[in-house]
Amino acid sequence: MNDIVWIIVEAVAKVLFLVLILQLTAAATVYLERKISAFIQIRVGPNRVGPWGTLQPFADVLKLFLKEDIVPKAADKFFHSLAPIISLGIALAVWAVIPFGDYFMIGDRKIMLGVAPDVNIGVLYVLAMTSLGVYGITLAGWSSNSKYSLLGGLRSSAQMISYELSMGLSLLAVVMMASSFSLNDIVAIQEGWGGWKWNIFLQPVGFFIFLTAAFAETNRAPFDLPEAEPELVGGFNTEYSGMKFGMFFLAEYANVATSSALISLIYLGGWALPFSPEAIGMQEGSILFALLQTLVFVLKVIFMIFFFVWVRWSIPRFRYDQLMYLGWKVLLPLSLLNALVTAAVIVFAI
């Protein structure tokens, strides 16, 4: 029983820390997006609140909290409030299985870097949570009882379920190589060879498919049709204001961070270092070495977030029929073929 109390204490502490970090990451991502897009368009970007405008996102969140929450008369009140809760709740909950590093020891207690990174269903959990994300957007569109919202919500959910298949199939090939659903095991097979064992080199097609699907799943440009301003105003969140809008906003940026973390874990080696801890005079399981792993992981995540922003401000939006064409006629058969070829290589060559 005492053991269980410790597990609960550790989990609650980790979860609260993680939720705080995620909010800060989302805020930092918003700042990065505004600053980078400004530089791409030869502007200055936010520069008034705090040094170089770094406090801008906090001011924005505070403003959103103080704004009036307007619910249209025609809307379904209950689902109008439930939709942002689903979106944000899921965006946070996905992080349960994401590892930030291997582990470190305090006495003889092994502390994993992550809430539950070792569970044997990690990849499936991520996919299941992504598939539930559809509800937040569909319900937001439907409950607002506005034509723009409904069309935005429908487009978005059809887009998300279309790309989920390719995402799942490209992950399938990685699962074959790792023989495990745990993200920690997937990182472990990429260790060694000085980085040449990263899945981006062994699964280039899968990487491309996953990357494309990740952009579609997060509703980011070039696949941001659900909120294509010229035709749908704000898409599914047209009728949202104040912090309810802010919750969708936070969820979107948390999802960008999630996708970046997944790409770096699954295809870019995650926290794996090219050398053993002994090589630089550290011990396996020491806090310092764990911090080094986390640092490497965080740098990769920041690069991927930068990549997400870079793409958004460089590539024009797809048309909806082009999006469906790409998802169903190109990526789906390609990812199926990729999985089959990977299986054939494993069965016949090894």
Partner: protein, 118 residues
């Protein structure tokens, strides 16, 4: 065994808890000056015509059905994928035939224009 999954459940509960907390905070802190104009549905400045509760294109339904079918296919592939090596040749050819059967369905939908959006 369940201990391993307890952190997962705690994360889910607290994650949604934080989202609910945000909603209550916003309700508590937010301004409240409602007028009739604010509460009407947005329609580019016009009075809304009818409701949005209307029927829409069947294509969205087709996408959802195709998604379910292929999603279930992928689900059957997971238990095979985690042990491709150990299961060996028989399982490999079983799955190849399985995929080919489903590819026939995919090809039928493709030819019938189930993936067309125009």
């Amino acid at each position: 065994m369940i201990e391993e999954y307890l952190p997962l459940i705690i994360m889910l509960v607290l994650g949604f808890g934080v989202a609910v907390l945000f909603l209550y905070l916003a309700e508590w802190l937010g301004a409240r000056r409602t007028t009739h104009g604010k509460q009407t549905t947005y329609e580019s400045g016009m009075e809304p015509l009818g409701t949005a509760r209307d029927r829409f294109s069947i294509k969205f339904y087709m996408v959802a059905v195709s998604f379910i079918v292929f999603d279930i296919e992928v689900v059957f592939m997971y238990p095979w994928a985690v042990q491709v090596g150990e299961l060996g040749l028989v399982a490999f050819w079983t799955m190849t035939v399985f995929m080919l059967i489903l590819f026939a369905g995919y090809f039928y939908e493709l030819k019938k224009g189930g993936f067309e959006w125009d």
